[in-house]
Structures are given as structure tokens and as C-alpha cells.
Symmetry: C2
């Protein structure tokens, strides 16, 4: 079975998996223009910073392909800028859409000044630029998957079958496709090396039980869901070989900010002599940040912890602590940091 | 404010807190006879093995007090035995009700043979025996609380205020009253030693967020709810002083079976240099069991993990692992095992 695709793009036709309907229903919706993308992003039918940027960019490609070429490159530039400015307002905090918009506006502006290119050619260059984002991102994830799978297999002494544990969702539903940590697991599975994947529920937002479990079932990768308080018991009971998680941001020294619960898994992995890996695009390494201490911890709404839908699951009046992520010290990342450029020890990180 | 009472008994009048309505509503229902108790236990309006045994026994005391004294002690014995046999069928797996019934039937049988006691006196002895269970259990829990609080305060160098973390529910809602681990916390609070209690959600059944949080709010003990994957981050962020949990069973060597997630908290406590305590009645120590390896792990229904009420929270088709408890090795119980007889190191456990 093919890898689950949350974003399907083919010759100017864009469809996305409506993540609001997961895990109940697996339904794709058409994105025919920038307005459709804006609404889908705003309503969180697509989530995850890279996925948002790619869906936004592709929606502009869809529109540009259908549009008659503007009379001048200046007209084209103004149109592109207007559409991108609008897309950025869909979720102002997602920096990836902002960065993608800036890059595309710069390209379009540069083309205005390039005498050898006419308006039709300029439109074509911009469309190709936008379309390339999806392929590039998936290619990076595939490379992460291959590097990670090879390294884990080697460090586990080339065992026949491996048991791996992952946290949160880092798969097709969080990226352009294939995934980072879940991409590594996909690559291990392709190599027939997976005995069992243990995925944590990932409270309070249940990205593990809703999204990762969905992807694992979809692709028939042998998998078992556990609650977050079962991780150590599972490590001991099932003799897990490696833990693989994603990253929101990696500091220059290798300290890694990721979904809350990651730090705890790293401590538990170390105490059970289990390899611990972080998988992320090389661009997630922020060489401006010396260590994890400089990364602020975002607090999220308490309602995520006290309610499931309309059902109250916690006593009224209880105070909550709901940090969105935590920081795992570099020394606990015993396997390495897996990127599309290879697997790095935390003290080997250098800008390239 | 008085301690939350889940079981209220006064001169032949019994009321219990309907736990099915928690945390939405705090409603007491009257238990007027053995039939009422049977239904309340069967429907899980009262839960927890000690609480079930006490509610069952007290319901018989209520009935006996109202009943005209049977003509003979033999008649009384047959009546008592019939009622207790019936109560045991309410939840066959709850061994405490079985043990309580056996003890009472033996007492009643012994009284038949005792020439100096008439039927009215025999009835009185049985009622007093049944009624004593509640008071004895609460007295034991109060003693556990005092021993634990004193030991924690001492081992924490008599700090002004302590930050403690607990798991699952071990309070008034799980015992006859006051509680074991939560009893220790109540005693710390009475001594004005609590800065903050961190209580884990305790997935998948949410005993922490529903029940422990309810008790802490009810008694205005400063408390914060965390998800199970936030424990290590909380230990680090808030410099927690001690972790205190209950026990389902303690083996002769000190290995302790308790709610799933306990083992993981013990590993995390050790790695953060935090004292780890188990609090339980001395009767929970099973000297017939040499070590935790002999304790089987009960698996519970997957629906606890995949649904909250009628809301699906996990992808359809995902396999689940749902062990009810895990075993914490004695060496991780760095604080000690707190009982009504005092606080013991695991290598100091001897039958008394």
C-alpha cells in the first residue's frame, strides 16, 4: 500500500485530507484556489507548520495555472504578492507560511527586473517554484527516513526485527508527506525490519492515538497504542530497541525542544539502555540558539486537559499545567539527530 | 473544611457519594439495606476494594439494626450468611468483600456455639463488628498519614513547604476515608507543609483528573493537574521533593504492584534525585510473594484507551496494550513503604 498522502497534488489539481474528520473518517477535499486554502488552514483541516506552508503555496500554483497570464510581470508580481499576503493571515503564528511567502515574493520581484523573461515565462517559473516545495520536502523526509533506518539497524547490531517507540505525530499528517520520525519508521518497515511500533497516546491532544495510530493502521505497520504512563513498562516488557521522536527546534549544542513528554521518554530510554533518536529536517537546527535553556516553553489552554469534546474529564476548579513541549538535553539523545544530510551526534552539529 | 467523606455512617444510617456522577456532581445516596448496597457496588457508584467491603458490611449493619432479633442465634446466623453470600456476588473479583464476609460469618458461627450470649446480644456483637470496620480503616489511614508526613518532612530536611507528586486515586474515594498516599498528603497539608501537589491524570481511566483532583479541590489543598507525559518536566521545572503513591500489593522483598505508570514515576524520581514513597495498609504486604516477578499483570479492556464516553479518541483498528498496573522494584522506593505501623525500608519488611 502506498504511503498515506495528506496532500495530493497533480498537474494543478490539489486535494487535502480533512484532518478534522480523523480518526472517524478519511475524506479528501478539493482546494481550488487561495481562498479554499485559507479556509482549510484557518479551520485546521490541515495542521503542522510545513504542511500549512505547502498547501498555501500549492493553492497559489493551482490558481496561477488556471489564470490567463497578466499583461505585465509587474501585474503578475502584484497579484502573487496580494495572494500570499492573504494566505499569511490564515494562521499568523505559523512562520513557515510567512517564510514561504517571502521567498516567493522575492522570486517574483527578481523576475520583474529580469529582461530576458516575459510574463508567461515568469508565471511558469513561479508555478514551478511553488510546486517544487512539496517534492523537495518529501525528498528530504525520504532521505531522513533512509539515514535513520540505516543507523538504527546498524546500532542495533543488525537484528532481524526491531521494536521502536515513537511519540506524537511526525508522519504524513504533520509534514508534506512521509514524515520525519515516522518516516524513519516507514523506512524500517520498507526494509522489513519492524517487529512492532509502540506509539504513545500523547496527551493532552492525542496526536499519537488519533493521527500516528491512524497512519500506522493505514499502512499496515504492526503497531500498538500505549498510554503515556505505560512507556517504561512497555520498554521493560517488550525490550524496545529504540525511541524515535521529531523536533520542533534543535539548539546548536543538540538540546532539542519537542512535544511535551519527549524529555521523559529520553530519561526512561537511558535508564533502560535504549537508543534515543531525534529526526528532523536540517533546517530545524537553529545555530542562533546556544542551548535548550534559551527556548521558551509555550503554555496551552487548560481545556485541552479538562475536556474531551464536551465531556468533562477533570474535576471542576482544578488548576492545570499544560506546557506544549519540553527540552531534551543533548546527552540523552544517545542514537543521534537524524537529518536529510545524515545522522549527527549532538557535538557534531555545524552549519552547512 | 472536613475531609471529603465518600462513606457517611451514623447510628444505622448509611450514605455514599455516587462516584458515577463525579466530577460533574457531588451527590450522596442512601443505602437502606443489603439490596441497595449490592446495586451501588454492581453499578460502580462505589469503587475500590476496601470501600466495597465496608459499604457492603455497613449495609448489613443497617439492616440488622432495623430488624427484630431472630428467635435463635442459628436463625440469625443463617440470615447473616445469606445476606453476605448475596453481597459477595455484587462484584465477584473484589476479594475484600469476600474476606469481610468470611470473617463475619465465622464470628456469627462462633456466637451460635457460645452459651453465654443470647440472640439479641449476638446481633449486637455482629453489628458492632461490622460498624468497627469503617472506624478501624480510617484510623489505619490516619496513622499512615501521620507516619508518612513526619518521615517526608524529616527526609526533606524540614523544609518550610514541600512539593509532592501523586498518581491515581488513593484518597477518600478509594478507601474507607482519608486515604493512603493521599492521606499522607492530607497530613502534610494539615501540618501546613504543602506548597503544591501535582496529580497525574492517570490514563486511561483518569482516576487522577476525575477523583484525586476532585478531592484536592474539595479540601482546598493547593494542587495542579498534569498529564502523565509531563511528570519529568514537572519534576525538573518545579523541583518536586517527593513522589507518593499507593499499592495494590507489596511483595516480601518490597517490590510493589500499583496502578500502571507507577514504575515510570519511580524511575523518573530516581533520575531527578526525588524521594519515592509507597503508602499502604500493612495488610497489603503479601509475605507469601517473594518478589514482584510473581505478580501477574492484569490486562484491561481496550475501549478504556480508544474512547472517552462515546467519543472515539484513537484510530479505528489500532491494537492497544492496557495493563492495569505495573511493578516497581524495591530499590526504586527510596523514601520507604509507609504503613499504619510505621515507615519501612524494603529490606526491613517482616511479618508482625
Amino acid at each position: 500500500m502506498a504511503t498515506l498522502q495528506a496532500i495530493k497534488y497533480n498537474d494543478g489539481s490539489l486535494e487535502i485530507l480533512d484532518q478534522l474528520l480523523l480518526p472517524e473518517s478519511c475524506t479528501y477535499i478539493s482546494i481550488n484556489n487561495v481562498q479554499d486554502a485559507w479556509s482549510a488552514i484557518r479551520e485546521m483541516k490541515v495542521r503542522g507548520a510545513p504542511a500549512i506552508a505547502i498547501v498555501g503555496s500549492l493553492s497559489l500554483a493551482v490558481e496561477l495555472r488556471k489564470l490567463a497570464t497578466p499583461e505585465t510581470k509587474k501585474d503578475l508580481h502584484l497579484l502573487v504578492k496580494e495572494k500570499l499576503d492573504y494566505l499569511v493571515t490564515s494562521r499568523p503564528t505559523a512562520v513557515n507560511m510567512q517564510l514561504a511567502a517571502e521567498a516567493c515574493v522575492k522570486l517574483s520581484n527578481d523576475l520583474v527586473d529580469k529582461a530576458s523573461v516575459d510574463a508567461a515565462e515568469a508565471k511558469d517559473v513561479i508555478v514551478k517554484h511553488l510546486e517544487a516545495m512539496l517534492a523537495n520536502d518529501i525528498a528530504d523526509n525520504l532521505a531522513i527516513g533512509e539515514h535513520g533506518a540505516r543507523d538504527i539497524a546498524k546500532k542495533c547490531g543488525n537484528k532481524d526485527k526491531l521494536r521502536v517507540l515513537t511519540h506524537c505525530n511526525t508522519g504524513s499528517l504533520a509534514t508534506a508527506g512521509y514524515g520525519t520520525a515516522l518516516g524513519v519508521i516507514r523506512s524500517l518497515h520498507k526494509a522489513n525490519l519492524v517487529d512492532q511500533v509502540y506509539c504513545t497516546e500523547t496527551r493532552p491532544y492525542n496526536q499519537g492515538s488519533r493521527l500516528t495510530a491512524f497512519e500506522l493502521v493505514y499502512e499496515k505497520i504492526p503497531a500498538t497504542l500505549i498510554c503515556d504512563d505505560m512507556a517504561a513498562a512497555a520498554m521493560k516488557e517488550f525490550k524496545i530497541d529504540a525511541v524515535i521522536v521529531g523536533a520542533d527546534r534543535v539548539a546548536a549544542n543538540g538540546d532539542t525542544a519537542n512535544k511535551i513528554g519527549t524529555y521523559q521518554l529520553a530519561v526512561l530510554a537511558k535508564s533502560h539502555n535504549i537508543l534515543f533518536y531525534v529526526a528532523a529536517p536540517f533546517s530545524s537546527i537553529d545555530f542562533q540558539i546556544p542551548s535548550g535553556q534559551s527556548i521558551p516553553i509555550e503554555e496551552r489552554p487548560h481545556s485541552e486537559m479538562t475536556h474531551t469534546g464536551s465531556i468533562r474529564t477533570a474535576a471542576a476548579g482544578i488548576n492545570c499545567w499544560n506546557p506544549g513541549f519540553d527540552v531534551t538535553p543533548a546527552e540523552l539523545i544517545t542514537g543521534g539527530i537524524v537529518t536529510e544530510k545524515g545522522v549527527f551526534k549532538s557535538d557534531q552539529l555545524v552549519p552547512v
